[in-house]
């Protein structure tokens, strides 16, 4: 199939359609409005349904209804809207429903701003809502990867019966790049029929109930164990990361994800021209986090540089993975301001000449 020049938001929407998504429920918020706009136009063409919800809270429960009825369903939002969806996401995880949630992060806290940020890393990976659960978090660095990950997200959600979050920022939403949708794409997982869905009970099976209420603590604990086992399986089987730059003989390893990793790749290319070898490990899954991949990359280097658009969130996972085996340096911008390749180059040189101070986590 030929490549098409697409805006990130539209590629995300089209990828969902290609993956068999029939329903979209969402509420307008900048900078992701092009996703619901695209879906409102595209879904009716394939016999699907778009509903503009009255709020993100309502949207998060509309997807609960649609997923429970057995259909592939998606919502998208941006940081403050995802906070409002927290309630629904907890119920979705508790009731084990497969949905895909796209968060095109903007700068916060509060109303913050509308420009790119990575300030929702903790929220996405550690504390999306109340209760004891995780969601798979996929972080694309290009429009093509966003399209691919959105399609994978639907398979992973169905396989694990769990919400999957695609975590991007305003750059992913707004950039235009060539995208290719492969024909005859096969699911990344072998998927069982949704025998648990509320499709109407004709007496041939017990009634299906979509529910997260367990008043008996023993039953709830069993449910918690079952969920925990699922999250453990994700940790074992779903870790994804990519590497960039030097494979051996480098002094500094960069760890960055999403569009920030894209900026870092430019810096790495510039440094190579100056004869400075730098490597990068780019986590693609933020939960489960590629602790081993980061550690292996770091042990070949003398020091590690974490680059983020936050006050320091993923850096805690890097520190956890390294267990103090290498010094960690940190470069960040916030408020919607991007890190430039020049800033990365300057920081790497500072690490190499000893003028950059390492940061201590924990």
């Amino acid at each position: 199939m030929t490549k098409r020049l697409m805006k990130g938001s539209e590629a995300i929407g089209e990828a969902a359609v290609q993956a068999g998504c029939k329903l979209f429920f969402g509420y307008p918020i900048t900078p992701q409005n092009e996703i619901p706009e695209y879906m409102s136009m595209r879904l009716p063409q394939i016999g699907g349904t778009f509903v503009q919800a009255e709020s993100e809270v309502a949207a998060s429960h509309m997807i609960y209804g649609a997923a429970g009825a057995g259909e592939r369903v998606m919502t998208s939002s941006s940081s403050p809207g995802v906070s409002l969806m927290a309630e629904g996401i907890s119920y979705l995880a508790g009731a084990e429903l497969p949905v895909v949630i796209v968060n095109i992060m903007r700068a916060g806290p509060g109303l913050g701003g509308i420009l790119p940020s990575q300030g929702d890393y903790f929220q996405a990976t550690k504390g999306l809502a109340h209760g004891d659960f995780r969601v798979l978090v996929l972080a694309p660095w290009s429009i093509q990867e966003a399209a691919d990950l959105v399609q994978d997200a639907f398979d992973l959600a169905d396989y694990y019966r769990n919400p999957v979050m695609v975590l991007g920022d305003g750059l992913i939403g707004q950039m235009m790049e060539p995208v290719e949708f492969s024909e005859g794409r096969k699911p990344v997982k072998e998927l069982a029929p949704k025998t648990w869905a509320t499709t109407g009970c004709d007496g041939s099976r017990p009634t299906n109930v979509i529910n997260s209420l367990f008043l008996d603590p023993n039953e709830l604990e069993q449910h918690n164990y079952k969920l925990a086992e699922k999250f453990d399986t994700m940790v074992q089987d779903e870790v994804r990361f990519a590497t960039y730059g030097a494979e051996e003989d480098y002094d500094v390893l960069i760890v960055a994800y999403g569009t920030v990793a894209r900026v870092c790749s430019t810096a790495i290319d510039e440094l190579v021209e100056e004869g400075i070898a730098v490597a990068m490990v780019r986590p693609i899954t933020l939960f489960p986090y590629p602790y081993e991949g980061v550690r292996e990359g770091a042990l070949k280097a003398n020091s590690v540089l974490v680059v983020e658009l936050s006050s320091g969130q993923m850096i805690e996972d890097v520190a956890l993975g390294l267990a103090r085996s290498r010094p960690i340096h940190f470069l960040n911008r916030m408020g919607g301001i991007l890190v430039s390749p020049d800033e990365v180059v300057t920081k790497i040189k500072a690490i190499l000449d000893g003028s950059s101070e390492e940061v201590h986590i924990g």
Binding site: A53, A58, M62, G65, G68, G200, C201, T207, V209, I210
Partner: protein, 257 residues
């Protein structure tokens, strides 16, 4: 051969409920189940339970169910119905659930004209959490969060949901009924039947508000609760049909000269 003249509806599960003595939830469950049976839609009906006393309703019906979070049942109903328009979808909600925390969801579900049915049980109090003031608590009525009685200066007047929803321009069937004696319960069942029929025909959104008792949290014995409802709630919450899908518009008309 003995002829069966009275039996449990097929759509109602053969279990005991957790409802208090004198509570009318069980009765309303039965009326809903009878209507599902009589319309022959049990095999394609999906219910949505609220957060409140009816939180376990999924155990009491022989149909597929979703348990919703507090107030969000109309949003869940929207998701199910849009995913599977062939299903008959009903939510079963109390007054704290629907008229307080879920006010946005019910208004917009009705306003979009979702082809679902809402059974709204109004007993003028929060039951499950232990008798707090609801948006529907009567002026002067004592509750644990208004121990001197509801002060309308501070809490406003009780919200009349059927009237409120009926002001929306989108076609709908909106009615209020009560079940405090057998005669009015027959009328309540008729309202429920019409509500479900409109959904089966794919006509419109439908909502039936049903006045209910809460002897436990009202602090009134069951039998007296029935007369308390009749004396105190009925005058403020009149029964009847507030909106028909073919009933025309309620848009304001110009004043006569």
């Amino acid at each position: 051969m003995a002829e069966t003249v009275f039996a449990r509806p097929l759509a109602q599960a053969d279990v005991s409920t957790h409802y208090c003595p004198g509570c009318t939830h069980g009765l309303i469950h039965r009326l809903v189940a009878e209507v599902i049976d009589e319309l022959g839609v049990q095999e394609r009906t999906v219910g949505i339970a609220p957060v409140g006393c009816a939180v376990l309703a999924y155990d009491y019906f022989n149909v597929d169910f979703h348990e919703a979070s507090h107030g969000r049942a109309p949003a869940v109903a929207t998701g199910i119905k849009r995913a599977r328009p062939d299903l008959i979808v009903f939510s079963y909600q109390g007054d704290g659930d629907l008229a307080s925390i879920g006010m946005a969801e019910i208004v917009h579900c009705a306003n979009r004209g979702e082809k679902v049915t809402v059974v709204f049980v109004n007993n003028a109090i929060y039951g499950m959490t232990g008798g707090q003031m609801a948006p529907t608590t009567m002026p002067g009525q004592v509750a644990t969060t208004c121990q001197l009685g509801r002060d309308v200066e501070l809490a406003g007047y009780p919200i009349r949901v059927a009237e409120l929803i009926s002001t929306l321009r989108t076609p709908a069937f909106v009615a209020r009924a009560t079940v405090h004696n057998p005669l009015v319960a027959v009328h309540a069942k008729e309202m429920l039947r019409r509500a479900f029929q409109y959904q089966v025909a794919g006509t419109c959104f439908s909502l039936v508000e049903i006045l209910s008792t809460c002897p436990t949290n009202w602090g009134i014995p069951p039998q007296e609760s029935m007369s308390w409802l009749e004396t105190n709630m009925l005058p403020y919450y009149p029964v009847g049909v507030f909106k028909n899908p073919d009933g025309g518009s309620r848009e304001p008309k110009p004043l006569a000269d």
